[in-house]
């Protein structure tokens, strides 16, 4: 192609009326919108002017950051490789993965995600007990350190993105007969030391499964011989017992909290009878929960410990859908709720062919059956107790880094322009 050609024909495609380009851009997949935006400035300005109009739907469906599972003799169950600087992100819309590199990913464990930010603990090289805690935007590579935060903690919850002025972060550390909470107020340019650390004695061993922020309070779901919902008030530092939920008899395999339209939803799943999923809404004033499964009110739920989010479902969608990341002992999948079918699940299927255990670029199905006992911890009666491993990172003799704990499947909003 000669330069002459380039100059004589130049102007046509970059100067087409915007309505034509818009029509073309509406047909693009999300990554194609990014590629097209790098072609010329006119295309870029159109794509940037209304980023929500292009690349499937008004709010992009979050991506799932997946762990690099490590299976081998001598490795604990659910160990992951964390040495590399690359993490893999699965886009459920396209059903493909993207590899994103960041220096901070090496030796990192993720605790939470809020929009396009991740809350990470990074193990210092050569020092297995020494951690840095930071917020990372893996797409823009922006980061904020949280020097006063002490890891390893088990789960983090954020009231908002770290760039907003009143972002509060709750770090939860579980222990025998106590639950420790550390509260941070994040001011990116200012002091980031924790506001306070509280130790809350409990009369039972409480395994924190999930936590969520809603309307000024943090809600924590913990499990002992029965489920409990606790509320944490960041203004007073008090942890209150709200509700007992779900005796062991109801046998949920995973329990998650999601904030949706100003409500806290409790999402439970089990595998009996081909798989089931029920949604409850906390009635905060009555300190109770709705006993019947609730409607999703047009929201699409993306569920995973510490990273759950609700977005408006695409208009015209007949079913309400929940996407599950790996959470609890459950491996992930997708549920569709038929309208008018409140308490039952119409199908529990692997999410579009699956995405876990991704050697190379290939996508292997999520396990359909939960009969694999290796998913469950030793010495615990199945289903009666959901034990999430504590956060731990270590290097083996060959220098390969591994971790357990943290959040294994992370929903994160895909990159904006």
């Amino acid at each position: 192609m000669s330069d002459e050609n380039l100059t004589t024909c130049d102007g046509n495609w970059s100067e087409l009326p915007p309505e034509i380009l818009e029509q073309i851009f509406r047909l693009l997949t999300f990554p194609d919108t990014r590629r097209f935006s790098a072609v010329c400035s006119q295309w870029r300005s159109i794509l940037k002017s209304e980023p929500s109009a292009f690349g499937f739907g008004s709010i992009p469906i979050p991506w799932l950051m997946v762990g690099d599972e490590a299976i081998g003799s001598g490795l604990p169950k659910r160990a992951r490789r964390i040495g590399g600087r690359i993490r893999r992100f699965f886009n459920p819309v396209e059903r493909r993965c993207y590899d994103i590199e960041a220096a901070e990913f090496a030796r990192s464990v993720c605790h939470a995600a809020v929009r396009d930010w991740l809350l990470l603990s990074v193990c210092r090289e050569g020092k297995e007990e020494s951690w840095e805690v930071l917020f990372l935007n893996p797409f823009t590579k922006e980061r904020f350190n949280l020097p006063g935060a002490h890891s390893p903690f088990d789960l983090g919850v954020c009231s908002g993105v770290p760039t907003c002025t009143d972002c509060v972060v709750l770090l939860l550390t579980k222990g025998v007969a106590q639950l420790q909470t550390t509260l941070l107020k994040v001011h990116p340019q200012e002091n980031q030391d924790p506001v306070a650390t509280y130790t809350h004695p409990t009369t039972f061993e409480l395994d924190v499964l999930d936590a969520v922020y809603c309307g000024g309070l943090f809600y924590v779901y913990g499990m002992s011989w029965m489920g409990r919902v606790l509320s944490f008030d960041p203004n007073t530092g008090s942890l209150q017992h709200l509700i007992n939920m779900f005796s062991a008899l109801s046998q949920p395999l995973s329990i998650n909290l999601v904030e949706s339209l100003g409500n806290v939803l409790v999402i439970t799943r089990g595998d009996s009878g081909g798989g089931w999923c029920r949604i409850y809404r906390l009635d905060l004033s009555a300190k109770a929960f709705t006993t019947a499964s609730v409607e999703l009110e047009g929201q699409l739920l993306l569920v995973g410990a510490g990273t759950s989010t609700a977005i408006p479902a695409a208009s015209g969608s007949p079913d309400s859908t929940i996407y599950f990341a790996k959470c609890g002992t459950f491996e992930g999948g997708m549920c569709k709720f038929r309208n008018g079918c409140k308490n039952n699940i119409s199908a529990l299927s692997p999410l579009d062919g699956g995405l876990y255990g991704l050697p190379g670029k290939s996508v292997t199905p999520w396990p359909k059956s939960l009969s694999d006992d290796s998913l469950f911890d030793d010495n615990l009666e199945r289903l009666h107790y959901i034990r999430v491993p504590r956060v731990r990172a270590w290097a083996d003799a060959s220098g390969e880094w591994y971790a357990t704990g943290g959040v294994e499947g992370v929903w994160i909003q895909p990159p904006l322009f």
Binding site: G11, N12, W13, R35, A38
Partner: protein, 159 residues
Amino acid sequence: MASTSNSTSSKIITLRSSDGEVFEVEESVALESNLIRRMMEDDCANNIIPLPNVTAPIFYLVIEHCKKHAEMKDNKEKKKELRSQGEELLKSDPHTYSNLMEAVNYLDIKSLMDLTAQWLADFLKGKSPRLIRELLKIKNDFTPEEEAEILERNRWAFD
């Protein structure tokens, strides 16, 4: 439509391109264009309809595509044929393809607009910005700094 038996009774519409060429087109084909439809409703039907924004070669292409599009309904073979012709034009002469899209947009022919946009999107899907520029002969008007920043932020999409 052009291929159907009622073409014997079909009215002929006369149109004039911007470079002065006069076209006689069956009404059923001409009415695919909402612009022409509106003009006829405004009672210009007995006169020659001027199309000041469309040149003769492009208008010829538009009519051809409209006819084929009418034929292609429920015909997979024809559909494929039309598509491969569109793709061929896009590959061999992207300049004309962009003029075609502009004319289709101006004439407001929705079915053809959808098709030409879809072909283009399919053709460029997954291609790098550099390749898209090369194929469509678009000049890179970013500064090196701007381009570096865009590529850095979106590196995940370019691998």
